[in-house]
Symmetry: C2
Subunit: 334 residues, 2 copies
Amino acid sequence: MTVRVAVDALGGDRAPDEIVAGAAAAASEGIEPVLYGPAGLDTLGLRLVPTEGAIEMDDHAVEAVRAKPESSLVRAARAVGDGEADALVSAGNTGAMLAASLLHVRRLPGVHRPGIAVVIPTTRGPSVLIDAGANADARPEHLLQFAHMGAIFAEEILGIGDPEIRLLSIGEEDEKGNGLTLEANELLRASSLRFAGNTEGRTLLAGGADVVVADGFTGNVALKTLEGTITTLLGILRDELASSARGKAGGLLIRPAAGRIRAHLDPETYGGGYLLGLNGLVVIAHGSSTRVAIANAIRMAARGVEHGVVERLRERLSAGVLASARSTTQTPEK
Amino acid sequence: MTVRVAVDALGGDRAPDEIVAGAAAAASEGIEPVLYGPAGLDTLGLRLVPTEGAIEMDDHAVEAVRAKPESSLVRAARAVGDGEADALVSAGNTGAMLAASLLHVRRLPGVHRPGIAVVIPTTRGPSVLIDAGANADARPEHLLQFAHMGAIFAEEILGIGDPEIRLLSIGEEDEKGNGLTLEANELLRASSLRFAGNTEGRTLLAGGADVVVADGFTGNVALKTLEGTITTLLGILRDELASSARGKAGGLLIRPAAGRIRAHLDPETYGGGYLLGLNGLVVIAHGSSTRVAIANAIRMAARGVEHGVVERLRERLSAGVLASARSTTQTPEK
């Protein structure tokens, strides 16, 4: 089986060159990246579906998706909705990706809000953070759904049996939190999930839980703080070592170990996040993605298709795990 | 001049032993720590003001402060309000500290909500994060006040002229954020502050701005993520190096550099956060504070008194910088 991945050639800060290069690098026997971008784009031999226009990072998401139906992102999303492609990858405007996906890929039955699930490589193994940025404003019942989707993802894709769920807050006690997390904590306590209470940002990299639940604003701030701190700290270490002969000698000796850590923790390695809750496989890559990150995001998307992420979610959600959540109106964030 | 610091001997996970040991370590010609705790406590020679009862980490903040007026925390706060002490230090329940401080130390005129200011040692110099956890739920006008207080703190205490302010959000564009930050962004744009727009968590350790503004929930999650990531990453590095002879040799050589980084970034070194906006100097230490952290928090408090943090805030606030903020009712979070 060859997985056809629709790639938005114009999404991201380094588009189109790094996107095309990443897609070319990911192309293999099992993966066929198809580029969506302007006619005449040099695709390094990959198939091109010509499109008209692009959605910019500062465009208003919903308006831009409506106003630019032939743009690279919207066309790529439509390809997944129409079955022309098996998955979508973009490093573009997150809000626009969400809006285009809601319009053309559509939600799975029972899902109110799709959420971005990112796999964090913790010292105790992989952990899922959901929502890492799809919904800047969320309600308690959305957090409950994120928890269910994250649990299914952890079980089916990461192979974690009966995953432990925690809620990202400002203290481990149930009474600590803001209005949103206090209510979400009660919903999670009353749910069928293995909810172990709140956790704090300090446990994110140490592996505080199999699934960490947050609204998209908090999850995004936490994820970017985690990534930025790793990058900055490794940079400080490099500079400190370069400042003395002893440090330089030590630096040479620790290079393999530092390289392993960097490869393990680098956001480029894990490539992006899955937008869960949709009727198709969608991967959101970092806006700053290089060719390495794009190639990994495309491989992530293919792996998601091979593992049947969407089918597993559909089966499990239709079994009624979301029944307790109240129905709400879906309005994508910009 | 000797600064008298009222220390809550029963606040924090390691109370009273580590608190007393930290206070003893901080005692010097210029600093007189006074312990507030049960009669009979071994104070290592420090002065003791005997108190009755303690506020626990899981107590409801406001209720506990009302119900336990003779507890170590409430008595220590009252000492600052009454002028018996120049500053308060506690590693106890943050919500209770806020409630006790509002009741006995009281707010400065014009301030709606005190905010916790933490100095982050970034690669570009010190940066102030405010609010790091006093207000789990905040309104846009509170964030504007935090920005003003953070700016005054950065100018007067850190010596940063005309500090650059940024708002912690999920994208640098003004349009990126949640309902709270979108409104706060507009208020900050319209203010007299040198507001440079939004920033993301990835810049916190790299020094994205002189003052980073957030609601207490987001600020607390970001700060704990920053601290936890540093601790975990340095632990991973140590383990990686211990796993090979080459790594061990390199580890010995890099030890001085790693030690400098750890000393520079360790939360124990900076000890705690200033609760700004009160009519007295209050420092909140980590719940997990060891004697080293407590000693540093006491020194921080004394430094704040010597620099006249409260007087500088009172002068500058009375000059009308807060005039634009609407009056709101003060309700401390639990």
